[in-house]
Amino acid sequence: MFALEVIGLTVSVDGKRILKNINLNTKKGEVVLLLGPNGSGKSTLVQAIIGNPKYKIEEGKILYYGEDITKAPMEARVLKGIGLAYQIPPKIRGVKVRDLIIHMLRKRGATDVMNELDKYASLLKVQHLLDREINVGFSGGEMKKVELLFTLMQRPKLVLLDEIDSGVDVENIVLMGKVINEHLIKNGTSALIITHTAQIARHIKADRAYVMIDGTIKCEGDANKIVETILRFGFERCIKCVRWSIWT
């Protein structure tokens, strides 16, 4: 059973084609890494999966547990169980983290959320941010941890983490990895984790990995092998790799 199937997806932003014929999938309960250098189109893919109207799907399909959601509105996808942690979330002035989380969960009919919120906030060490305006004056690491907190509270069935490790210090990467392993990816939750540094990959038990370069998938395989290669040789090796070029 696939939680996510991306089939022949071509996506453009402001008339410019960013992704070409992307094929990618995540099985139920599987943790998949999406690696690739900056600007290769990884964020475009997750934004297209979540349904951001700025990202126009020219061709192809997105299936979520077999259901075609290519044209479903963004909030409908989220309510079905897709959760996205933004790479660079915007500031929302005057809106407190706690209030938005409560609002978000009430909308889904959840009532008693305070205990869970306190638990996750304390695991991520972000209690002090709950009564602050969203992302106003947050450090890079704080932003990422709050995004992770939102995602945890959503209890998604498919979670998309976009560069959750970039700009985060080592201790916090370890902490976030632990929280992701123990609390986010469980009970059959699938994950597509984007990273260009592959730092978070050291702390998460990933099953498979894809490598995206220039808006196309160049490689797919065992997560450990690919991560090891990239950490040793960088993405240059991927670009030159003849074996992997069959994917283009």
């Binding site: 951001n52 909030e75 979330p89 005057g94 609002h103 909308k107």
Partner: protein, 408 residues
């Protein structure tokens, strides 16, 4: 009463002096109407549920359980007034002048010149009513006092003169709700003079809910003595046809503080010209002006702010933000800082813009619809953190702001 004659003489001279800001209103038309109007309001019942829900919309607690006292005025007529608290007087202006002139004479037209413009002059010459609240030394009121000014009927001129006097080490919270019944055409003028004595603290929350057939020109002057604090928050939840106000806060004493904030919504073709000025006169005085303007339809909003620093170690900050919700609305922000000494520290930030699409999409990625996301952003934009006001007032302001943002 030589002083009163002198005041009247000055007022007469200023009767045709326009305000420096805002569209001019032909007051003579309303004054003539006034002379013919009988003093009795017919058909008004404060117990009417429709009246009560209207009052509640501008923050008035009709049950009055959580208020220390109340004052109600409809057009020119004072309906009721009382204080529950010993050491706190709630009076009408006429009563205060007649019975407490010895006190009042030191405050009557001392925070605002009577000849400032034709609106102040009209209040002096043709106005009736207005509340006078006197809080004795060392009296601290926990629950707010409320005052309510209603316009009712047609071609009405309402022109009260309000005075609040806090003695030394006193504390009071006032909430004022101004609104209308039965869609009247009319003018609401209101002079408010506030005096915050040494070591005292006054919080003043004013909520205006008007209709486009009305014109509103409040005139407010505040004087704060040593170690005193003034906090005001003005919410325009629905604008009149034209609104112009520019409260001036004089931080006269040492180490005085003022926080003046406003949230204004412009709708239809309304012209909203709202500003504030803080003059930092006392050593170590600090003041903050925060304004949020939301422009919808074809409204024009002018958001002014001015901080003048003329004392040592004075500090001021001005924050002026506008959000345009339509292509035909105009918001103009005019922040001004004026420093007269080298150890005065004044700063400002101003911005006007639309709702950023990225913010909407971000919220949609958390499961909100487009409209929900927009209203969360608007709601957030209007939220101003006001320190030092009681929780009941904060909750009341929050609920008012929630109602406005859900309607935009």
């Amino acid at each position: 009463m030589d002083m009163r004659e002198e005041v009247k003489r000055k007022a007469k001279k200023a009767l045709s002096k326009p305000s420096i800001y805002g569209p001019d209103i032909d007051l003579e038309y309303y004054i003539k109407k006034l002379e013919r109007e009988s003093s009795k309001i017919v058909g008004f019942d404060i117990k009417d549920p429709r009246v009560q829900s209207k009052l509640e919309s501008v923050g008035i607690d009709v049950v009055e359980a959580e208020r220390s006292g109340s004052y109600y005025q409809v057009n020119h007529q004072v309906v009721s007034y009382y204080s529950k608290i010993p050491g706190v007087k709630v009076l009408t202006l006429e009563e205060a002048i007649n019975e407490y002139w010895d006190i009042i004479k030191d405050y009557y037209w001392k925070a605002i010149p009577v000849d400032k413009d034709k609106y102040t002059a009209t209040v002096e010459l043709y106005g009736k009513g207005g509340y006078v609240i006197i809080v004795d030394d060392n009296v601290k009121i926990k629950q707010p006092l409320q005052t309510c000014l209603l316009l009712y009927g047609h071609e009405v001129l309402q022109a009260p003169h309000n005075i609040i006097i806090l003695g030394e080490n006193a504390e009071a919270h006032i909430i004022t709700g101004c609104t209308f019944l039965r869609e009247p055409t009319g003018v609401h003028l209101g002079v408010s003079e506030f005096y915050v004595g040494r070591g005292s603290k006054l919080t003043f929350t004013m909520i205006h809910g008007w209709g486009l057939q009305q014109h509103v020109r409040p005139r407010t002057g505040v004087i704060v003595e040593d170690e005193g604090e003034y906090i005001s928050h003005y919410v325009v939840l629905s604008p009149p046809g034209t609104l112009q106000t520019y409260p001036q806060v004089k931080l006269k004493g040492k180490n005085t503080r003022a926080h003046v904030s406003s949230v204004c919504v412009g709708l239809g073709k309304s012209v909203v010209d709202v500003g504030s000025e803080i003059v930092l006169e006392g050593e170590g005085a600090s003041g903050e002006i925060i304004s949020r303007s939301l422009g919808k339809d074809e409204t024009t909003i002018i958001a002014r702010g001015r901080i003048v620093g003329v004392a040592e170690r004075a500090k001021g900050h001005l924050e002026c933000m506008g959000l345009l919700l339509s292509n035909s609305a105009v918001i103009e922000a005019i922040p001004q800082l004026s420093a007269h000494l080298d150890d005065v520290e004044l700063t400002h930030e101003a911005s006007i813009g639309r709702i950023a699409e990225d913010e909407i999409y971000y919220l949609m990625s958390k499961g909100f619809t487009y409209d929900e996301a927009k209203s969360i952003i608007v709601r957030g934009f209007m939220s101003i953190e006001i320190k030092g006001i009681p929780k009941a007032l904060k909750d009341m302001i929050d609920s008012v702001v929630t109602i406005i943002s859900s309607k935009l």
